[in-house]
Symmetry: C2
Subunit: 143 residues, 2 copies
Amino acid sequence: MDAVEIGIGEVVRRSGVPASTLRYYEERGLISCVRRRGLARVFEISVLEQLALIAVCRSAGFSLDEILLMFAPDGRPSPNRAMLAAKADELDATIRRLASMRDDLRHAAACPAPSHLECPSFRRVLNAPDLRRDGDERGLVGR
Amino acid sequence: MDAVEIGIGEVVRRSGVPASTLRYYEERGLISCVRRRGLARVFEISVLEQLALIAVCRSAGFSLDEILLMFAPDGRPSPNRAMLAAKADELDATIRRLASMRDDLRHAAACPAPSHLECPSFRRVLNAPDLRRDGDERGLVGR
DNA sequence: GTCCTACTTCAAGTCGGCTTGAGGTCAAGT
DNA sequence: ACTTGACCTCAAGCCGACTTGAAGTAGGAC
């Protein structure tokens, strides 16, 4: 039976997120348990959706702090829709950067030039304006 | 005059990369200096292009280790064009993921549903296949 | 010869996002 | 009564990519 409340073990089983991470997320205020049974946390099933939301955002490169700001504590309405739009624009820029990188990689894989650095088409990207400007978003690919 | 060899200070000035990072990159084998003048490193100007290449790759989400594997020590030919192609495919997947995230964010910013979690369109993404896969929760893409 | 300055080394610290481990609690089963 | 197993807390550790800081060195100007 799908109970309305589940223990941490069940959350782990159904979300794939380790217990240590769940506790960490709780500490960070990203999720919360509805109550305790003794010491043990009791969650509402909705935590599974919150976790999915967090996973999606993380995989899009957002930090836990950003996720916290974008969606209120309980995955709620979002006080700041403008921020969501801003994040979308940010993603757009990232996507364009990655697309051009992808094209260059494909070219590099096919290009017969002895060194990529000697290939005019590959060099193009090296002269792109803001290569190492301070606002670089880390972690788009990993984790 | 643009000399063929430059000191670390000049590299810093022209690349914007801090000296500490240059030394770190050298330690990691990403760049190397042509010789020493006393203790001081002397670089070839080509190091600037290598640094640009590294910056581009980093901004595309590649780790230093991956960059090391993709392009030989000196930014050279690339022994493994297949790997470049693989990386391009990886990027493609990432881009698709980000694009869908961007669309969802935009929708969330405009959607009037009280909670994003109640909006059918937003929930769609939460049920995407690879969110909570057993086994490889870690590293959807790389690293 | 001495001083400045740009450079050096090496060890340790930082940050985000967790994980690991030691030691404790508690309800249920035998 | 005791053990088991699932859960707990809290502190410390880890990884990648650097940065910071203390203490040393060498080349050129004066």
